[in-house]
């Protein structure tokens, strides 16, 4: 009886398995006409607004192309990464293994992006990073199939180092959160600033995401530097800028920062941010035909003004399109796909850029000044600045 039952079970299982395999292959045959894009972005949590802007930008470009690239329609599979590094590997594997996506796009949080880069490297899936600035993504973890449409943390920091040195400041204090993005940004700043003869006299840190700045502001006041360089973003940036002004330091010690200090935060910072100088790869009031067209199209589609994150999403889609066009929509030709993106000039709203050897944008970094609710461009702080891609072997 047991034997008979086992036999029946085996038959049933085999049938089931066969059916499953057949079903899957039929399903696959049906979707090959579409390119599957796996969007892994934050839909909840601190960075939810950034995730939305990136997705909006990405979809906008593809809509402008009539929803098709190289004759193939785009199908989206979405996962909310919650900006949660501990869930990142599971989430990205869902997209790669369960959904069989052709291209991965994500994400905002650097820790999550690193897990994505690792999974993309292991599986060979093409990955386009539309924000996360961790130097490592186009450094030690770089890969032939990994691209970034945004920036490396090093870039705005380095550009600001040159600016602050040019302003004649000699002794500077840096202050940031003790985590990868802050460290990398400060390192970039220090590299350029000390090369130009300045000196970073004190590097102040506080644990992420602590926002009790008062003790360190007192430290700054007692050190009396010529200027302060800072990297903060989001709620922390708002509070830092307000506390810095309230502590009376703004009128005594000029504050410089990476652009995230004043991006998406100006309404909350109010007058306390007025006049601040920051560096980033995008700015308000660029006034180029390309940027104007993009802004108009974005505003019309979403009834919202675009920001730097929307630009990064838009350019991620442009990079995908450039690659797909070169292989006539056949994304399995990965080497040719990658070669095409490497050669492409991306006609970005921020200004045209190409990708460097480690697949990070070689781009102009703007010096911007806060005026009202805008980060108005002042000048180009560093022309065609390329991340050194340290540790990348490509």
């Amino acid at each position: 009886m047991t034997v008979a039952r086992t036999a029946t079970m085996t038959v049933a299982r085999t049938a089931l398995a066969a059916g499953f395999i057949l079903g899957v292959s039929v399903a696959q045959a049906q979707v090959t006409t579409k390119i599957k894009v796996g969007l892994m972005l934050p839909a909840t949590g601190t960075f939810a607004a950034l995730g939305t802007a990136i997705e909006n930008g990405f979809r906008l470009y593809l809509t402008e192309q009539g929803g098709k690239v190289a004759g193939r329609e785009i199908e989206y599979v979405k996962v909310d990464d919650e900006s949660e590094p501990s869930k990142a590997t599971d989430n990205v594997n869902k997209l790669i293994k369960r959904d069989n996506v052709d291209v991965l796009v994500g994400t905002v949080h650097s820790g999550v992006a690193m897990a994505m880069a690792k999974a993309a490297k292991d599986s060979g899936t093409i990955l386009i990073v539309p924000n996360a600035g961790a130097d490592a993504v186009t450094g030690p973890m770089c890969g032939a199939n990994i691209f970034r449409s945004s920036f490396s943390n090093w870039q705005p920091g380095y550009a600001m180092g040159e600016v602050v040195a040019k302003k004649g400041h000699k002794n500077v204090v840096t202050i940031t959160w003790k985590y990868a993005a802050g460290d990398e940004s400060v390192r970039g700043f220090k590299e350029a600033f000390e090369k130009a003869g300045g000196k970073v006299v004190k590097e102040l840190n506080l644990p992420f995401p602590n926002v009790e700045f008062q003790a360190l502001l007192t430290e700054i006041a007692s050190t009396k530097p010529d200027a302060v360089y800072t990297f903060f973003a989001g709620g922390g940036a708002v509070k830092f800028v307000k506390d810095y002004a309230a502590a009376g330091l703004k009128k005594n010690v000029p504050l410089y920062g990476a652009g995230f200090l004043t991006d998406g935060t100006l309404e909350a910072q109010g007058g306390d941010a007025d006049g601040l100088l920051t560096t980033l790869h995008y700015a308000d009031g660029l006034g180029t035909a390309r940027d104007n067209a993009f802004r108009e199209s974005y505003a019309k589609t979403y009834k919202l003004q675009p920001d730097v994150y929307a630009v990064q999403g838009y350019d991620a889609a442009q990079m995908l399109a450039a690659g797909l066009a070169a292989v006539n929509g056949d994304i399995s030709k990965k080497a040719e796909f990658a070669a095409a993106i490497e050669k492409a000039t991306i006609d970005s709203p921020r200004g045209a850029f190409t990708l460097g050897k480690s697949h990070n944008p070689v781009q102009d970094i703007y010096l911007r000044q806060v005026s009202g609710a805008e980060n108005k461009v002042v000048e180009i702080a560093s022309k065609a600045l390329a991340d050194p891609g340290r540790g990348c072997r490509l």
Partner: protein
Amino acid sequence: MDLATFLIQCLNSLQYGLLLFLVASGLTLIFGIMGVINLAHGSFYMIGAYMAFALSPIVAATFGGGFFATLLVGLVLAVLLGYALEWAFYSYLYDREHLQQVLMTYGLILVFEELRSLFVGDDVHGVKAPDILSGTLPLGEMMTYPVYRLFISGVCIALALGMYFVFTRTRLGMMIRAGSTNREMVQSLGIDIKFLYRVVFAAGVALAALAGMVAAPISSVYPGMGGSVLIICFVVVVIGGIGSIRGALLAALLIGFVDTFGKVLLPQAAGVLVYVLMALILLWKPDGLFKAG
């Protein structure tokens, strides 16, 4: 560190400690005295801060505005919210295991975050301090000190004194303390313990929301802000001793000093110092500084 800087850092420590007490005061009631592990405490704080932001235009339109009017309206709403939440959810938790309390209150965090995202969006917002308190005082040669921070300290001290008085000197406080020791006995003495707890819970929510509203002008309001205060609030209550208001105040001040001077003198370890302090105190006094009798 010269004397002037040292004194300013002491002021910073004191101010931060008082702010911590303010933020943790609601948890002292709900976790400390009622014994419910309330992970949603941070959400109540967040709700308060967002009320300070979202209500002010509405209050301005109906009552002619003002920060303090907004504060009052927010407090009333918070009491109502607390009362309703206790009736709908928390009243089922008193006799349950801790794990079930954790699960439900964690669920509430997710619900409140999602509602916040739906109603107010995911952007960072600033809240303006009232005009009479928006000035600054000179401090040293370079620095100034915002008057609003002093105002917060004042609110904290008043609150601490008020809570202490109610709990140790009034009949209501006596009933609450008795209820936390033995519910059945209090009930058999003819006191409506259910109603009493509903009121205490509503007060706890109102305190958390008040903290959020008062802190909003200096902390600004942003997604996930509740999560950032939750852990430190538990640390305050645990170090102080469950159920002790005096303990919570002392613990908050202690943390203020350790955190402030830790950031300056031992920046590499600033993130863990507070927890080291907690571990040491619990080794020395496993029930916290003051165990409520």
